[in-house]
Symmetry: C2
């Protein structure tokens, strides 16, 4: 005994999404079957998003027009590009108001578990962008976790093999998060903080 | 700064599904944005499932026709109905080949966390079915967890308030799972096994 084709197909379509296993996919499908309204909203939102959502032709962020607000703002420093994983990381940095350069949004991080591979990430577009000239520094601003590290390495390698001898590539600093208490921080944080310690008195 | 409307709408439609929070909904949306094929499959599968998927008019299980294979099989004992949460529970019992009666599929279990309420479950249809006559026993076969227990109680109450003085209502036995080892079983299992112990020698 198995599900009728339209049901099985929906289970499989859910299961193909990152982070959704067979059991969750079945749960979502049964939810749609018993509450058609939520399924209808999702269907319509998907159709609209696939038809209308755009990505900034410059940085790859989600955008309403060809260019996102950051890329169309001439006051932003175009010599420095921060490479982030997702649109929400742009949002975080913008909210903090600590960065005046441009972004490049990869739209994910390498993650074999959820099926995100190199081809899904807009690394080629970044290399093209830097090749066009005018960029002096690329800041790797991926998450400080396993996926983010692997992604940063991939971006670094792509920039290395593109030549670009004058390009500076940096990554965000690691260490104690401001406002925290050392007793609550885990090993990895303390390790980074020791490793990257800064000299404060020259002798 | 926030997402353009078609993107935000899709995030919200994902977020409205059970078990998907804001962060997962954003991840899923970005996945669709960078891999339009998976989004297209989901959109089409949703459209097809919403248009074509049917539920058995008798038991509520997913079905290709008006009646599911079990309900259209005259050899199945129509006097006994096992009430299960989801189609896959029917599948499990059928695979085990241990039950020859009919089913009633509620399509979920009470779960405030994922928004499943009484109105989502086909309890009224069960009561109607029993009222039509011919059913002598209803077996509550929901999961032995918090949600399943709450659901079984709800079904029991609905059957109680429907009158039906001759109807027997039972639930699946609790105890040691066959093939297990007592040392690995948790408190709840052992508690049930002691509580429902059976006399093996009359004295």
């Amino acid at each position: 005994m198995s599900y009728p084709p339209p049901v099985e197909e929906l289970v499989e379509a859910f299961e193909a999404l990152p982070g959704i296993g067979r059991v969750s996919a079945e749960r979502l499908t049964f939810h749609v079957l018993r509450d058609a309204r939520s399924g209808g909203s999702l269907r319509d939102a998907l159709a609209r998003c696939l038809a209308e959502a755009r990505r900034c032709v410059e940085c790859g962020n989600v955008s309403e027009g060809d260019l996102c607000p950051v890329c169309s703002d001439d006051e932003r420093d175009a010599t420095t590009i921060a490479v982030v994983e997702e649109p929400r990381h742009v949002e975080s940095l913008e909210r903090a108001g600590v960065f005046s350069g441009r972004y490049h949004v990869l739209m994910g991080a390498l993650n074999p578990a959820d099926g995100t591979e190199e081809r899904h990430l807009s690394i080629g577009a970044l290399v093209e962008r830097v090749r066009k000239g005018g960029v002096t520094e690329v800041i790797l601003a991926t998450d400080p976790d396993k996926e983010g590290e692997a992604t940063a390495l991939l971006v670094l390698e792509a920039l290395e093999s593109a030549g670009l001898p004058d390009l500076r590539v940096t990554r965000l600093a690691r260490g104690l998060p401001a406002g925290s208490a050392i007793e609550y921080l885990h090993k990895g944080v303390l390790e980074d903080a020791l490793e990257d310690r800064r000299q404060v008195r020259r002798r």
